[in-house]
Amino acid sequence: MSTATVPRNLPRFGGFSTGMIKLELRRMVRNRRTVIFTVVMPPVFFLLFGTDAASRNEAVGAHGNVSGYILVSMAVYGAMLATTSGGAMVSIERAAGWSRQLRLTPLKPIAYVAVKLALAMIIGAVAVAVAFAVGSVTGAKLPVHAWIGCGLLAWVCALVFAAFGLFMGYLLPSENVMQLLGPVLAVLSFAGGLFVPVDKLGHTFATIAEFTPVYGVGEIARYPLTQDGNLWLAALNVIVWTALFSAGAMWRFRRDTARV
């Protein structure tokens, strides 16, 4: 009650806490669609398209094979789906009025976004780890440094899609935003050379591909294995798209949290 004994303090870090992340993770895992999309589908794609004899026998780099190459692409795909859906959770929560409810708590909007990013990166890491675990026992070959390097890079670079997910989450106030974003990501993955190497797409298309957001992430993630390709161009691609998506997310976020 209004007795002076109730201490009234603001939480540290604007409300960003491991307690909240734990609860949010539990809720995310409860959503079967997210789990299937991000954790089950990429390894299944790998088993379907990356484990034929030709892929296993053809070498890539010093100690790798084409299966390994495809596996890294699939891990990127999984990380991308995971981080996008992590960011896009915002749209479901806005549609449900949950964001408004959270404004009746000490949670700072920026801390809320930080929680969403942390969640996106956690499930992104799980997606990469599961894909690699499945790949390692089903014929994918990568040198040790590439297992680690490719995995870390696939995960870190997926941050660009966490920003993309947030942007879309603030832009589209819909309950089923991932039903829209799933196909978009599939198209981007084709365009960016995750499902088919860009040089097999023809010259014009290959040039266009270099400007799409998935291209840079794929190139960078596969680099420890292939030691090939223009790393600077790929890095520029990732940086520019991250900046664009982050700016978009910030713009929508500011509009959303403005006290009108």
Partner: protein, 314 residues
């Protein structure tokens, strides 16, 4: 027409008002949702904000919670800016709809609220218990009935142990049983001395649970008083009779008559002792066709909140 049953702002200005609205105006483009509200609420009061849809109740609540900024005037909650008071847990609210995630369980939802307010886990069980939903803690929110979801919102609102609790149309969509249970829980809680403001358009709720009723219409306060005072203002009955050539001053002098209205050959006499008025009309005047109708809180509400108030209509 403004009735003020003098809510009596404390003369001893020592206690800080729980709520202080000073000349508050809120416009959305060309629409004026709140048109100059002055309202002070003392700690411990249970206040009903009563009015038809679109009267400005929800906008007022939004401004009290810092979800909306007034276009003009100031809003203070315990002397602080609303969003500060919210962050500190001084004020919390049960909103009308939404605000829940289907794939959390009831307990997890309250747990998350506890985490955000930095309250210990023991507070979770206590809030669930006080809201009367301790038995459905493991149920998914999406599987809860409207009434259960509303009690969950109540549990969340209780968690910071707020000094002021705001309820925005808290029982909309509930069945009679659900409404009863919900108000039982609120009443138990308000007994401890918490300040409660609730917006409603259910008159019986305002009547039964508020000790002060604030009528709002078109963004303005049209009546403000304790529930019993407003009821007294609004109580009494009306005697209608046919009385050609009635003289207002004569009718007004009849014992027990408060107000008189003459429309052609028909007179309307409003007062407490309608039996006495009727007896006088029948014995001392040529009045006939008598009819006595009661004027209750509902009628007062309609009169006070109707869009075209007699007299003010152009």
């Amino acid at each position: 027409m403004t009735l003020t049953a003098s809510p009596g702002i404390p003369v001893s200005g020592t206690a800080e008002p729980a709520v202080d609205l000073d000349g508050v105006v809120k416009r959305y483009g060309a629409v004026t949702a709140v048109d100059g509200i002055d309202l002070r609420i003392r700690p411990g009061e249970v206040v009903a904000l009563l009015g038809p849809n679109g009267a400005g109740k929800t906008t007022t609540v939004d401004m009290l919670l810092g979800l909306a900024q007034p276009t003009e005037g100031t809003v203070r909650v315990y002397g602080r800016k609303p969003h500060e008071a919210v962050a500190l847990g001084l004020v919390s609210a049960v909103m009308q709809t939404g605000g829940l995630l289907k794939d959390y369980t009831v307990e997890e939802t309250v747990k998350l609220t506890a985490v955000l307010f930095g309250k210990p886990q023991s507070a979770v069980g206590a809030a669930l218990h006080r809201a009367g939903i301790a038995d459905i803690g493991k149920r998914l929110v999406g599987k809860c009935s409207g009434g259960q979801q509303q009690r969950l919102r109540f549990a969340m609102a209780l968690l910071p142990d707020p000094d002021l609790l705001i309820l925005d149309e808290p029982t909309t969509g509930m069945d009679v049983g659900g409404r009863h249970d919900f108000w039982q829980a609120i009443r138990r809680d308000a007994g401890d001395g918490r300040t409660v403001i609730f917006a409603t358009h259910y008159l019986e709720e305002a009547d039964a649970y508020a000790d002060r009723v604030v009528f709002v219409r078109r963004g303005r306060i049209v009546a403000d008083g304790t529930a019993s005072e407003v009821k007294a203002l609004a109580s009494g009955r009306t005697v209608r009779a046919t009385l050609p050539g009635a003289v207002v001053s004569q009718l007004e002098s009849i014992t027990g008559v408060d107000t008189v209205e003459v429309r052609g050959d028909t007179v309307y006499l409003h007062g407490r002792d309608t039996d006495g008025i009727a007896r006088h009309l029948l014995t001392s005047t040529p009045a006939r066709d008598l009819e006595i109708t009661s004027r209750n809180l509902e009628e007062a509400f309609l009169t006070l909140t109707a869009d075209s108030v007699p007299g003010s209509a152009a």
